[in-house]
Symmetry: D2
Subunit: 212 residues, 4 copies
């Protein structure tokens, strides 16, 4: 079948059919003193991730759907299960005492402080945000077709959530200047090797200029 | 293959492998003045749902996993999507202005007020709680095999979430005296016709006596 | 947000955005000698399920997406897991030796024999067909918004798959004269009590007259 | 909670709780003349992927669960949706006319020809095999805790399916000598950068020696 509303690379997109997803913009990742800041601070500085993401959400609010997706655990990690079940990357979070509800480290950074035009997506505990939240419901009922991704880590939760979006039938976009990985090598791998297999890689300004 | 740890009807279950899920014990359903109280108040009175559920959670806390699962929307329902997408039962919620974050109606009832031994599951927007929350993650990482269900409505969200749990490989139980439907006919239908196809129907005291 | 393409009850639907899902039209359910025919034969006769479904698929083929969804297990049920894990309704299937690949009982009935205009959906092992197949992928990539359901049992797999479709954001329809349950009571319950909460209940002719 | 049956790195695993998943061992990827052979043939030769995978399945059959997971489309790709919906990597498959049912290219290679000790998982159309098949059902009902992955492409479907398994609570393993990517760089990235975040990377002989 042929549908007339299909998007080709470079085409404009309806803003009302578009969402931008901001993953894990929390103090523990983004700020001096944050539990996991050290692993990502160099790339954040290099990419100007925070400044770009703040610019992006400010320009996008009210035009398209803006979803803010933190990862948080109970303060005592009682939601992290029996000993030994969670794998290496979750164990690092627990050892670092990162991403706990009600702590400064677990809070969303001031630069992306949610307003009543955003929706804060609750529940993320897994690499793929869809698997542990209501994000698919939110996108479906809001008639979203195009989803752009920002946040941390480019090759872990950002890529993982974008993979899942792709498999669910959304057009996916990586806002490269609003993401960061642990190293330039990993960032480059996602931008050049993986993401072009599933969608487009562009800056937040390039993406916003495609919305109508 | 034959595994030795399998459960037959009537067998004891390890409490550490068991969860009880309390669905939508919120003022809007359970209390005079709640937005949807009228549709379920007769059955709540008849079944003594609140008293039984309060007794159940008190006895279960600290022995097995206790999950409290409200359904809540943003105050302006901006997470409920474009006009006309949601179906009849969601439209009723919106018309009644029920289940809004930060309102008395959306709050969990005092009798089941969460403690730090419970986990409040966030995100439920759909009939099947698994589809819009991290409940499967919570059950997996806590090594849960047996899941009992309480709450509202017996034949809608309670049955729907139990169906999904069954399909995901959990043993499922209906705590009949801790649920309520809109009519005795619907309650009886679930207890006698549907639920025996997927699991066991019993009182909360009967269920708790099976835990070891 | 307000979208102009939204459907109200009674509105016409684009055939190209519509799918009809035919669940478990297999000899084991539908034909004399089938392993589970006895449990459903009275209702099949009363509803004229086979004749209506055959008429429906013939008229729908090539206009909208027609999906045929059998449930089949390996001949030795080696895909049915360790002893004791599956619940009551699956155990009945195993005891009856029903729905085995390569057997007459497991085959789709002649009246709904797939053509190259249909898609046979593989993998169904669970009550909700979405949970064990690629049906969500098929619906998404075919730009489907409206999904109608036919088949067996009205209150088990048909209702279960429709519940999941509803939660995934599709408009759902029950083709009542193309379904059957184990009793008139269960059929009536779904038609009058449950399904109106999530969608519309109508005959296949009424549904087809809504397609444009 | 503390459970005694938890696995640490290097520990033995029960073979009855273990599955090995062989992804896309089809002529189109693995054999001279296959539609996509050119993109992966160098790495296949370098890694000796086919020989190692054949050795692995032969040794594993009957000890642990062996799942063979092809990706196949209808011959006319009528299950691939409306024009323009599928993304770049699916479009490449369509352009190459790869992975069609009933063709030599879509068939599983002789070296991994399924026996009645394997289960062929049907339905895969997406990068993450879980999203379009009954694989989670198969793993759950077979009481599987540990899942090892082999196949193509290391950084696309293999990684994607392993990510999803991790999020679903399974222990995950990459059988590095039974996989291949489009380049040594991508293979190395998965082995050294990504996979250690979620599980263990080892040869098939190392993995099999861990089963008891």
């Amino acid at each position: 079948m042929v549908h007339s509303h299909i998007l080709s690379v470079g085409d404009l997109m309806k803003a009302s059919e578009t969402a931008i997803v901001f993953i894990e913009f929390q103090n523990d990742f983004c700020k001096e003193g944050g539990a996991l800041y050290d692993v990502v601070k160099e790339q954040i500085a290099l990419q100007r991730t925070i400044k770009n993401a703040a610019d992006c959400i400010e320009k996008a609010r009210g035009r398209c759907l803006t979803l803010i997706v933190p990862i948080v655990f109970e303060g005592d990690y009682r939601d992290a299960g029996c000993e030994g079940v969670l794998g290496p990357i979750h164990m690092n979070v627990l050892k670092a005492k990162a991403f706990r509800k009600g702590t400064w480290g677990g809070a969303i950074i001031d630069e992306l402080k949610p307003t009543d035009k955003d929706i804060v997506v609750e529940g993320k505990r897994t690499l793929d945000a869809f698997h542990s939240s209501n994000m698919d419901f939110l996108l479906r009922v809001n008639c979203i077709k195009h989803v752009a991704f920002a946040g941390f880590l480019t090759n872990v939760c950002v890529e993982g959530t974008a993979r899942s979006a792709y498999d669910k039938g959304y057009k996916v976009f990586l806002l490269k200047d609003c993401t960061a990985a642990m190293s330039a090598e990993e960032q480059k791998y996602v931008e050049e090797k993986f993401f072009p297999l599933v969608g487009e890689v562009l800056t937040h300004d390039e993406f916003l200029s495609r919305l109508e």
